[in-house]
């Protein structure tokens, strides 16, 4: 068995690399399902990462840190909601604004915390189970957020496809005029979906600054918010596939890190490009089948709703 000792640590790092993407993508998925395209994921993640990190350094409580990150992400999403839902601003432009603002705001918030160390989020050890060789450490010795991310995927899948509320949310995303005519509060539902997306992005960001690389650095998300947006297209708006896609990307990220560490004879910069290039390749492969995208994408995505009556 000793020849395969590397497998478990690699699996563990793949999971930590994927978890921020799982959070951000599953939150944004709900927002998009309600018909709102929020391109501010990167900005919300950054503000979440900074807020979570600051809260943990100040209070010492990881629970408060994650809660603060979720709150900060939701606050950013609220800004987006006010602009796009109440003031009917263009969603693409507002999302870009949210990201640009988030980059600046998080840098400002975190400037006194650069280089401050914190302990990484502790891994839970489920007694007995985590001692099982191979599977034990992978399945039963993760930190709480990893479990939460997977639970959230399940909850979102169940909510969207097995509950009445989820059906209404999807109806709002597919035809806001019809949903409005039946009497559903389109704007209120979209606000809730957008806020949920923001909270999840915030937690995803906090996972980066508290668990993946326990530190704060400007722009530390390095495009993960955008990769999360691409993952949703890759997953054709299906929660289960979002999870799969996120783990695939986690795998690519870790693969290139290990290749760099192993001294592979390829310049490190080219290995670092892999996640970004893979995102493009995946987008191309999925998008070229236009009918598939049209079938699965929420029909009203990105469209402004103004109740005429």
């Amino acid at each position: 068995m000793s020849g395969f000792d590397w497998i478990v640590p690699v699996f563990l790092t793949v999971i930590t690399a994927a978890t921020p993407l799982v959070f951000a993508a599953i939150g944004e998925l709900v927002s998009e399902k309600s018909g709102v395209l929020n391109l501010g994921v990167e900005g919300m993640m950054l503000v979440g990462a900074a807020t979570g990190f600051i809260a943990v350094t100040v209070t010492g409580s990881y629970f408060l840190g994650v809660a603060a990150a979720a709150f900060a992400g939701a606050a950013m999403a609220l800004l987006f909601g006010i602009l796009t839902l109440s003031l009917m601003a263009n969603q693409v432009a507002t999302g870009l604004a949210l990201t640009l603002f988030g980059v600046g705001l998080s840098a400002l918030m975190g400037q006194d915390f650069v280089g401050v160390p914190v302990d990484a989020l502790t891994k839970l050890n489920i007694p007995g189970l985590s001692d099982i060789p191979f599977l034990g450490p992978i399945l039963f010795a993760q930190d709480a957020l990893v479990y939460l991310s997977i639970i959230m995927v399940g909850v979102v899948g169940w909510f969207l496809y097995k509950t009445k509320a989820g059906l209404i949310l999807r109806a709002v995303g597919d035809s806001h005029d019809a949903a409005h005519a039946i009497g559903y509060p389109v704007i209120a539902i979209r606000y809730l979906a957008v806020l949920f997306g923001g909270a999840m992005s915030g937690i995803g960001g906090a996972y980066l600054s508290l668990a993946y690389t326990p530190m704060w650095a400007e722009n530390m998300t390095a495009g993960r918010g955008w990769i999360a947006l691409a993952l949703i297209v890759f997953a054709t708006w299906k929660p289960g596939l979002v999870l799969l896609g996120a783990y695939m990307f986690g795998g690519i990220t870790i693969l290139q890190l290990h290749a760099q560490a192993a001294g592979l004879d390829v310049p490190s910069q080219f290995l670092s490009m892999l996640p970004y290039v893979a995102t493009i390749v995946v987008l191309v492969l999925i998008s070229k089948d236009q009918s598939r995208i049209r079938k699965h994408a929420p029909a009203c995505i990105g469209r402004v709703f103004h109740p005429a009556a």
């Binding site: 003031l87 601003a89 604004a97 705001l105 910069q269 970004y276 290039v277 493009i280 987008l283 009556a309």
Partner: protein, 358 residues
């Protein structure tokens, strides 16, 4: 009684011009709060941000130095935005323009020719356009979202630059610093006014402003861009090709961003370094919107955003304010602009009835 938003029968022309000013006013008011929170005298901070950088001819010329890449990138982006083509990767196209353009000097440093710089600028444009051609081909052939692909390519371009400058482009006599040798005189952008850093790139930016103005107002391609953007179906019936417009706006914006890149490295920076731009390509998105996607507006918006860079530096030196304030400031401008733009197509009405009549 509550506030109701109702659609104007016709969009308000006055508001088109008023909302950028409203947005600036709101930004200044919010930044007063921000400065209070950061513990500095708001009036002093506003002075350092907006007045102090301009109290000398040199300061004024620096405004144009900083505005040059912003205007070049924003002019290009605005054409795409008008056609609903969302190129947000100008930062990457800027880097590729810098790489392509400077490659000529890096590989042939001994060249002494009046044609060197023009060819470098041309290659900069080609580099930026080539980088923007990737999202164009992916969009037109594979329907891949240009927002995501152009943004991913920003990171790739940054890594290519890093690879070159930590590798073969490093100055052999440079003590192993990741910097190229400094550009020779024939590879340098000529200075426009002695004693300042204002360079030929500023003229190119002005040329882009005028040229694009004429193109959008007077030529068929400009008309096609506007029609495809506002009414894609009508454009289709008129026989305008959507794909052609996607190609055109991406190549055009890529080329201008590329020129911005080569102007930076052979202008104020004077060598290839790991960090060529403090995010000009992203700030240019704000410049484009603040300028109402119109060349003349972009010119003034570019100067204003350039002032926030200068003001950020002045405030950092004189008040110890973090440089990140600039980013917050720029983000706020765009937020408030998008928020107040609701006034163009809608108006607020007080509704005095107590019950909703729906």
């Amino acid at each position: 009684m509550w506030l109701k938003i109702e659609k104007r029968p016709e969009y308000s022309k006055g508001m088109v011009y008023a909302t950028p000013l409203i947005a600036l006013l709101l930004t200044v008011l919010s930044s007063i709060i921000l400065f209070e929170v950061l513990g500095v005298n708001p009036m002093e901070a506003l002075y350092q941000f907006f007045v102090a950088p301009l109290d000398s001819t040199y300061g004024f010329s620096e405004l144009f130095v900083k505005a040059t890449p912003l205007i070049l990138c924003a002019i290009g982006l605005s054409v795409g935005f008008r056609a609903n083509v969302w190129n947000i990767g100008a930062e990457g196209q800027l880097l590729m323009g810098a790489i392509f353009g400077s490659s000529l000097f890096i590989y042939y440093p001994e060249t002494e020719s009046v044609f060197l710089l023009p060819v470098m600028i041309l290659m900069g444009a080609v580099g930026g356009a080539a980088w923007a051609a990737i999202p164009a081909v992916l969009k037109t052939r594979f329907n891949a979202n240009e927002i995501l692909t152009s943004l991913m390519l920003v990171y790739v371009a940054g890594l290519i630059l890093s690879f070159l400058i930590h590798g073969s482009w490093r100055d052999p006599a440079g003590f192993n610093f990741p910097e190229s040798q400094t550009f020779s005189d024939s590879a340098d952008m000529p200075i426009l006014i002695a004693g300042t850093r204002m360079h030929l790139g500023t003229l190119l930016a002005l040329l882009a402003v005028l040229g694009t103005w004429i193109m959008m107002a007077r030529t068929l391609i400009g008309f096609q861009v506007k029609v495809i953007g506002e009414a894609p179906r009508a454009g289709g019936y008129a026989g305008f090709s959507q794909k052609k417009i996607i190609w055109f706006s991406l190549l055009f914006s890529g080329a201008l961003a590329g020129i911005a890149g080569i102007s930076e490295v052979s202008g104020p920076i004077d060598q290839v370094v790991p960090v060529i731009s403090p995010g000009y390509g992203f700030t240019a998105i704000i410049v484009a919107f603040l300028g109402r996607l119109h060349p003349a507006g972009i010119f003034f918006a570019g100067l204003l955003m350039a002032l926030t860079y200068l003001g950020g530096e002045t405030a950092q030196i004189n008040l110890g304010l973090p440089l990140a304030v600039t980013g917050v400031f720029q983000g706020m401008v765009l937020f408030f602009l998008l928020a107040s733009d609701v006034l163009i197509h809608y108006r607020f009405r007080w509704n005095f009835s107590t019950k909703a009549v729906s």
